[in-house]
Symmetry: D2
Subunit: 321 residues, 4 copies
């Protein structure tokens, strides 16, 4: 999707090469999108002097290493979240980026969703006064395969990480304390894999506002992503978009569409917008609005949530650790 | 309001007498509604053999005593919430009622709101499968006077008590654990009075579901009372009613009404419905759906919330204390 | 309903007497609402010097006669619509009222609906600039009995008469031309009774705006009453209220309530508000906002619509005939 | 837009050439989208044996001629609406297409809008029973330039033509009678150019249902395209999509977005879907769902509306002329 967006919808970009550990996959996409180079080894791309920037969508455990190498090769970098599940590796990647003086943007795509972005902008403009409460609901349509659950890092690092970032993004404030609860209500197999599928985190912001996030791995009615920011002068609420505007009045009830089903549909515009920002930041030499530190902090919060769940009490978040 | 509802809108009821410590208030309402007896001392009413039932709307600290006396006098009793702020006094009142064999209904009016009642019925019917998450938002339009805040028992016993009852009502399950957080964000005077004005409670139900309640003493846009119950087969959401159905499309935006402003407007139908249920239970010799135990448990939960706020961790709720 | 509203919800009114051609009906309501006098013959009431005002809810063919007699007896008059199906009789009633100098208010209750009233007020305030288009939808839940259809005067005089009044009310302008079409689509028995059950009227206002009204005798989903006023600076839209604010997200679709079912529920507040206005006009010696002329003009428009339907072309409305 | 969609979003299509009377325009788009051939004269493309199909987006007065030539050259044809403003020319184009045995699809893009398509499908499935009433609202955000108004053929052939097609599409029935009214309320310059800017058409379907269409050249709040189909078993309503799902509750009112502003945004998905259908029909040798006859009938209805406006009465539509 990123390749397609860059090739067709971001003007002035020349997609020079693709790389995939499964060489056939790289060749297939290169052929389909008329991209001249398709390689198995990403290092070939890093050595290519004509390439200015890279977009990293490989598996999570390879992100940090590729970021470091790409930074050393002087490429600007867009990397899917999370940078790594290991804070040390994240730090190494961020250090490499800083040393090389290249741009790094992390793929928190939801920040680019037009509704969430508008909500954030309204809060920043003071439309609702001082924020007091933030509520984030995030429910997937279907749980991932159990094989994925096992290596995902758990619900806080795999799923709620998006909501931790959203919580920070909406108020432009750090989260300083949190309390996590949750259990396995959707599928016992998730519990057997050592994870939970239903969770609530209560959090406190540095300026005193409170937040609550709820996650479920399975909402039968589709992909459910809503937020609410309540403040001294009002409340901003973001609901779910629907595929059509059709309403049916029947003898029984009034019926409208379910929310959109998959995150690809829901965040289509957001995925394109984050690529446009990345390209724009390179062109105009600006810092991307989603930095490596944003990527790190969301992971840190995830680890504190995990610990809070185990200990059963409120935890401070130490951003220096 | 109860007197007016009973006199005019509940068929078959004969409002025989009113009593108020401010005698003029009793006389005024008696005159206006053509009620033959108006007394300063409620005991005169309890001695009146023609009176079958009483509705207690006096100040909270008198509830338990009047319930006990009314029960001894053989009257059926409707009493506004809370029965008392002291669990022992609640127990004495409940014991007196049980001994006398009279009916006691507690004024958790929100249970009779058509929207909340429909939500509960849908959950009970299994429409959303097994409940996993409950979300309750309850925000007042304006904080009460500071003089009231000081004697109110605090936000958990004065305001969130309604939500604790709602939480139990919606699932028909007991709350077994909770964690409370909160602070004073609306008005420092509330903090000086020893209370908070913004609070979040996370709770666990006996069958494993989770809930979250948020309260604020001040929502500039009106009286905000919403709920959501999410389960294995779907989600029930209840929004705020609005005074009109008018929408304006302007060159700037799309505008609709604010929610209704005061709880009297919002729960008008609910106040009438609870009176009808009370009268109906007497007539058909049935137990009221909101019992003395319901009144007691909501207060117990309130005390645990207060303690959790102070201690900063999850608390079990011991219903035997 | 009017009696009950006057007795219980309009302060300062003393309901002195009721009258009904079916004497038992009068006695029953008098007993239930503690009204001292119940008569078979309304003339007894007109002779009663203590009675200041009357509310006429008898069958349509008796309205004009009773208005004239009540006016001569010096009573202020509220009369249900229509005053009569015969323009001459309406004129006689209006003349009698004028001669006697009493108040006459006609029962176009929808003008008092909070949503429609707000829409009208917004238009009057200039919120949508100069009005260009008015759209009125009015669909009953069930057709009336065929026996009623036969004597009703037809869909334009019985049902759309409310919409003709609404059309005038919303813009505060006269309708000067119209074109009616329609046919029998709901129930052939209505056609056999000489009426139609589905109709559209296109109309022109004196200031050049256009309007369209659609009526159906049967909407399976409830009572459907919506309006829209579109102008140079925006659009005001009024939808149907619903009994609850409950939404269900299910695996199949999103479900909400049907509109309210019966006009009594929908216009409950409006019925009370029109009584309050009537009493208030008497007390403050003001002209009621819904006059005898309003009652007459709606009937006149109804006759022109009937003629247009038969002739198949646009008709001028001559308010002098 | 069509070129971009075909190049990037319809798989298996090879965009071989573009042509534009302004040669630089053709060259610019060819360069941007990497299309090998850019010509001033479309005939060069028709002579190119490698080209199987053409998409005609030239000015209306050239459509019919190009269709005929393209058909003779054996190319499948997609043509923007209207085919021509002259019925004879439309007939000639249709005859040429039929003789050549090629496909012709006319650009009534709104049929491919997901909401309108779903509404039509629900009606076809019988969800609302027998249709009784159709209501179509179609209001542009801004009137076109006066220079365009002068050559546009007038509001019925330029703007309401889409709604005539929509009216036929929604029920799958022909319109057999209509009555048009309207005037110049938005801008007197439109009246001076011999056109109107506000219009209402009432129409009758072959099976007895009724319809009403309202058009305005200027809605300050955006592009307003709504429909409603009411039948014996229910009602289907389609509202306007909005750019975001953000709602703001403020101390003054509740605010949400305006509808989308321009038809390009509103019908983005529809434009792509009609291209996909066109390509699919060629590939699977199926007749396009929007035929040359559909293009002709909408123009015929437009002429009858023009005549009805002038004459002031109901007109039959003779599809044989």
């Amino acid at each position: 999707m990123h390749t397609r967006n860059l090739k067709y919808q971001v003007s002035g970009v020349n997609v020079a090469a693709v790389s995939d550990v499964i060489e056939e996959a790289a060749q297939k996409i290169a052929q389909e999108l008329e991209i001249p180079i398709a390689e198995k080894d990403y290092r070939t791309l890093l050595e290519n002097k004509n390439i200015e920037a890279v977009v990293i969508c490989s598996s999570t455990d390879t992100h940090a290493q590729i970021i470091s190498e790409a930074a050393e090769a002087g490429k600007h970098i867009f990397c899917e979240k999370p940078i790594a599940l290991d804070i040390d590796k994240i730090d190494q990647a961020i250090t490499a980026v800083k040393k090389a003086g290249v741009k790094l943007q992390v793929g928190f795509n939801r920040r680019f969703d037009p509704s969430f972005k508008k909500a954030k902008d309204l809060v920043a403009k003071g439309t609702i006064g001082t924020p007091h409460l933030v509520r984030i609901t995030s429910r997937d349509h279907e749980p991932p395969p159990i094989s994925y659950v096992k290596v995902s890092g758990g619900i806080f690092l795999d799923m709620m990480i998006h909501d931790f970032d959203m919580a920070r993004f909406l108020l432009g404030q750090e989260v300083v304390e949190l309390m996590a609860v949750g259990s396995c209500l959707v599928d016992p197999a998730i519990g057997e894999a050592g994870d939970i599928d239903t969770a609530i985190v209560t959090l406190k912001y540095e300026n005193g506002a409170w937040g609550t996030i709820d996650n479920s791995r399975k909402a039968v009615y589709g992909y459910d992503q809503r937020i609410e920011i309540f403040g001294s002068e009002g409340c901003v609420i973001v609901g779910n978009p629907k595929p059509t505007e059709v309403i049916v009045n029947s003898a029984k009830d009034t019926i409208s569409d379910k929310p959109l089903y998959f995150f690809i549909e829901r965040y289509q515009e957001a995925y394109l917008a984050e690529m446009k920002e990345f390209i724009n930041c390179i062109r105009e030499d600006k810092e991307p609005s989603v930095s490596g530190m944003d990527g790190k902090i969301a992971v840190q919060i995830g680890y504190v949530a995990k610990e809070s769940l185990n200990k059963g009490f409120f935890m401070n978040i130490n951003y220096l650790e």
